[in-house]
Amino acid sequence: MNVPTNLKYAKTDEWVKLEGNVATIGVSDYAQSQLSDVVYVEISAVVGEHVAKNSTIVTIESVKAAADVNAPVSGKVLAVNEGLSQTPELVNNDPYEAAWMIKIEVENPADMDSLLDAAGYASYCEERSH
């Protein structure tokens, strides 16, 4: 399982990459492996809109199940990965780069503190697979 150390993670399996005050968000390698083949990605958040922490911003559907992606931080949506709905398989193939989903301008830096670091997330995933 791939858990890059430069990222932060939510317990609901989103990753967050913070650059300045811009958070890029996607779902983890663990999440994509649990979902299996992703067949559909719908980004419901709209650029310019304000999203609250824990609100649904993306819905992913695999051959097994549908899952919601929640905003790990509150803030204004700066960009969404428009192409992802045409190439949902990227969530499986490249979850941390090509399959980024949304960029949010972080409103409250404290939101980041509640997230796990790579080691914490890795052991959290480990726990759940038992």
């Binding site: 559909y40 719908e42 419901s44 559907e61 199940a65 549908a66 919601d68």
Partner: protein
Amino acid sequence: MFIPHTDAERKEMLQTIGIERIEDLFADVPAAFRFPELNIPPALTEMEALQDVQGLADANESARELACFLGAGAYNHYSPAAVDFLISRSEFSTAYTPYQPEVSQGTLQAIFEFQSLICGLTGMDASNASHYDGATATAEAGILAYHYFREKRSKFVLSHAVHPDYRGVLKTYMCGYEGVEVVGDEAELDPFSGPEHITSLIDKNTALVVVQYPDFLGRIYDYTPVAKAAHDNGALFCMVVNPTALGLLKPPSEFGADIVVGEGQPLGIPLSFGGPYLGFFATRKEFVRKIAGRLVGETVDSQGRRGYVLTLTAREQHIRRDKATSNICTNQGLIALAATIYLSLLGKQGLRQVAELCYQKAHYAADQISQVPGFKVCSSAPFFHEFVICCDQPVAEINEHLLEHNILGGLDLGAIYPSLKNHLLMAVTEMNSREQIDTLCEVLKEITHV
């Protein structure tokens, strides 16, 4: 009888919860109420019971014995004998999509054919595998629109000329959603007003506009301006249609409909006291992931052979888990199959012929009735096979008199639109012979002479 537990298992369960007999579970119910004596006659033998029930059944008068001019959403059409024969085959005798659907290729293929026929009829891209009836299918259009706009548009414009029961069910479905407002069918409205008033209600907060085609009063309108107003405001446009009428009329897709729903009963399904019926639901491809129930698709297996699969169940609980917004398990599979067989037997030309017969006979009937003193056809709008007659006396009295002559009269519109007291909604189908129509007019003449 299905008895899942053995006596030994039952005893074990009782021991586990620490009681001796099942009756002990009812200890909280006062003894007098536990097994009350029922005021019913003594038991009959099978033979006696059958005779008894047969006697009751014989007291019914059905569309088989009567000349039926009643419609208003359920229509007396001819169903070829092959429909009943084929759906009675044991392979098809279930309303359920199987839980391991791909094992049941025949069922999936039948559903696939149903979807294809509904798409052909409506001109839409995709159809699901059915709803309970026209009312629930219409209500699902509301749910789709609500979620499509992510709860950000709260106004639903519903024409007063949509079937009153469909309007009722749509409102019931929508009442659980916060802030939703359904407008357009206010009671004080003139029932004969056309779709213009609908157009004037559409704004940027409108999620969905619903009209009926032909409408509840039988009228046919060109809905292009309504569709345009809906789309100019970014709203979705839904048409509730009569499938028989589509054999003759311009398909809803050409008006720009986003969602087409309707009651499938006219497609070879018996009237049978109001059910089971069949709701159909078709959309443009864009909305396919928002529709309730399931979609069957055609594909090939690893050896290149044709096969059918459950392609899409995007809102169902085994995919959406706790966030499911649909649970259409009982998809009326058997009734959908009946409609599929009916449409296959009739073919394009056959359905057109049925529609033409309905149209011609209804217009003949309207002409004849309007020549009877005291009765007149009271809408100038073009109609398909249903029309409104205004009369000089209460509809109940007229219908009572008609029934004495073995004629089932039309619907008393006063019960639905208070301003339409003494108005009768008459339906004519291919089942009504010229003799029946002429007899109807004779009896109506008698009534005015009394």
